[in-house]
């Protein structure tokens, strides 16, 4: 059971995609999750629903709409062309964009839950100590919500590694550009190369198990950390 060169290319590409997506999502989701955790606006319900959509939509649906949107006549396509980037479908950055939508809820929700668990009290206490909202966010909210951020990063990363439907719709099958591990396994099976499929599948199996194991260990620790706030 050895990995072929194209297997290794697929693994490297997958890791690159997942890291890029996780990084961007953490940046985007932190303000979004903070807003969702604190707001009392009527917009909270519709925004939460939109964020959660990828949880229930078949990835092919998201992929289909993104394909159209990123196409020459779609809004994203027109934007990317006018910016001189060209068209995004069947490119690495097209995959990144698709994965951002696909993995969004897995990053927003743990952060939002962690910030909600902090409650308003430590934030008020910081305000009475002359801490500006930004300083309170950096020195109080971030450290107290750390377990939530770790869960979000692990989940976002793992979920991007595991995606298939969207990649198939908007990424296609270009080695070193869009051919991620899940596609490589599919290709191997299509080509009746069961040995190759076995090897990569075993890698994915062990990876998933390790991810979930680290996640649940993390959650066990975070419970004591989150609920001891202010005691």
């Amino acid at each position: 059971m050895f990995l072929s060169d194209s297997d290794i290319d697929a693994i490297i590409l997958t890791l690159k995609l997942a890291s890029t997506v996780t990084f961007i999502l953490l940046l985007l989701c932190t303000p979004l999750a903070y807003w969702l955790a604190r707001t009392q606006s009527w917009l909270k319900a519709p925004v939460s629903a939109l964020v959660a959509m990828p949880l229930i939509l078949p990835p092919t649906v998201i992929g289909f709409y993104l394909l159209i949107a990123m196409g020459p006549n779609g809004p994203i396509g027109e934007l990317s062309q006018s910016l001189g980037i060209g068209l995004l479908p069947f490119s690495f950055w097209g995959l990144v964009l698709g994965s951002l939508f696909y993995s969004l809820p897995f990053v927003v929700q743990p952060i939002q839950n962690a910030i909600e668990a902090i409650g308003t009290k430590p934030i008020e206490a910081a305000a009475t100590l002359h801490s500006t909202p930004l300083s309170t966010f950096i020195y109080i909210v971030l450290p107290l919500a750390k377990p939530g951020f770790l869960s979000a990063a692990v989940l976002g990363f793992a979920h991007t590694v595991g995606e298939f439907g969207i990649v198939l719709m908007i990424g296609g099958n270009i080695p070193k550009e869009t051919k991620v591990v899940s596609i490589q396994i599919y290709d191997n099976v299509e080509a009746l190369n069961y040995t190759g499929a076995h090897t990569l599948s075993a890698v994915m199996l062990i990876f998933s198990l390790l991810v979930l194991l680290s996640l649940y260990t993390l959650q066990q620790q975070s419970k004591s950390a989150i609920f001891s706030v202010g005691r």
């Binding site: 009290k121 430590p122 008020e124 206490a125 910081a126 305000a127 009475t128 100590l129 002359h130 801490s131 500006t132 909202p133 300083s135 309170t136 020195y139 109080i140 450290p143 107290l144 950390a225 001891s228 706030v229 202010g230 005691r231």
Partner: protein
């Protein structure tokens, strides 16, 4: 400290789930900006909300907050909480659980508007007796320790006004006795006005110099400590607290009888000798129900404290069995209150301006 006031007018209405008013606060008061002002009231009366309004923690409130002629809020201006020069001590301390005691204190020092030098820092942590706790994690402290660290942290931002929301409520009786002296001590040592919210009359009579009593979002009494309970129209919940609070000084010790003689504003009383030194200042409380009225100086009873006084005011209420009589002690600026049955007032023909003898059955030593 200047003798300008805290000028506070705040109105706030909270709605319940059906959009009906569930609580409303309507307060318009002037408070002294020195000493300890206690806000007394039952749970739900709005005393904590009032404190949060002063601190800038309540957003939907209208009115004004003016502290030492500095405007913190008026009709078109709202200074956010982090820019108000208040220290706030929460009921449950609210130390930051991810920081050590020292880091909690440093958080405040770093953000103080006035520079905190080493002398002040050391002064605060020694006054509160927490120097030995600095290295500890804030989650591994006892209730009393936690509250002392919280008080120190609030003092370290060098506030103009210290707000305390029932800082003793979550502590047992022994811890309360441990912390109360610190409060008096920090008020004197750092000369900082304190607004202190509590539901406990015991607590506030020991430390307050001025008292607000609140009921259902309104201030029903606003007076100095010596006057606040010596009226006939206290809110129903506090009617049993009707009493005179006097500050006195020990002038002599009668070792033979185990008694101390104290002088309070022109009259003297005997109290039980509890070991204080001559010259010490005490705060005494004489409940109206422990004072009876006689027409002449009675020699034939066991009461030791008898004072001549002129009746200033007799409460009139035909629906009560007992009434409150307020009488000015002869030769003194003080007046005491006595609770007397309406029948006795009638039988003795007690009238305002009459000279009588007040017989004091018991005197409580508050501090």
């Amino acid at each position: 400290m200047s003798n300008t006031n805290l000028n506070i007018k705040q109105t706030l209405t909270r709605l319940n789930q059906n959009k009906l008013p569930s609580f409303s606060l309507a307060v318009d008061i002037q408070l002294p900006s020195q000493g300890i002002t206690a806000v007394l009231g039952e749970s739900g009366c709005g005393k904590t909300t009032l404190l949060r309004c002063i601190a800038g923690l309540e957003k939907d409130v209208r009115g004004h907050v003016i502290v030492n002629s500095e405007i913190w809020q008026n009709d078109d201006f709202y200074l956010p909480a982090h820019q108000r020069k208040t220290g706030f001590v929460f009921q449950d301390a609210q130390l930051f659980s991810h920081m050590t005691v020292k880091q909690n204190l440093a958080f405040a020092v770093k953000r103080s508007h006035t520079k905190v030098d080493n002398i002040y820092y050391t002064d605060v942590i020694t006054t509160l007796g927490i120097a030995h706790l600095e290295r500890r994690d804030s989650i591994n402290l006892s209730g009393g320790e936690r509250q002392r660290v919280a008080i120190a942290r609030a003092l370290l931002i060098r506030p103009q006004l210290l707000l305390m929301d029932e800082p003793l409520a979550s502590l047992d009786a022994a811890r309360k006795r441990e912390i109360l002296p610190y409060l008096l001590c920090i008020q004197r040592q750092f000369n900082i006005p304190i607004v202190y919210v509590s539901h406990s009359t015991d607590e506030i009579t020991k430390i307050a110099s001025h008292v607000l009593i609140m009921e259902q979002g309104k201030v029903v009494r606003n007076a100095p400590i010596n006057e606040v309970f010596s009226v006939n129209n206290l809110p129903l919940n506090y009617a049993h607290e009707t009493s005179s609070i006097v500050d006195a000084k020990i002038i002599s010790r009668h070792q033979q009888w185990h008694l101390l003689e104290v002088s309070a504003n022109g009259f003297s009383l005997f109290i039980e000798d509890t070991g204080q030194a001559i010259g010490d200042e005490l705060r005494l409380r004489i409940h109206a129900s422990d004072v009876s009225v006689a027409l002449k100086e009675e020699q034939s009873n066991s009461i030791i404290n008898k004072l001549a006084a002129v009746i200033r005011k007799i409460d009139i209420d035909d629906n009560k069995a007992s009434l409150i009589i307020k009488a000015d002690v002869t030769g003194s600026d003080s007046s005491l209150v006595a609770k007397v049955t309406r029948k006795s007032i009638n039988d003795l023909k007690l009238k305002e301006q009459m000279t009588v003898w007040l017989q004091i059955k018991s005197v409580a030593i508050l501090t």
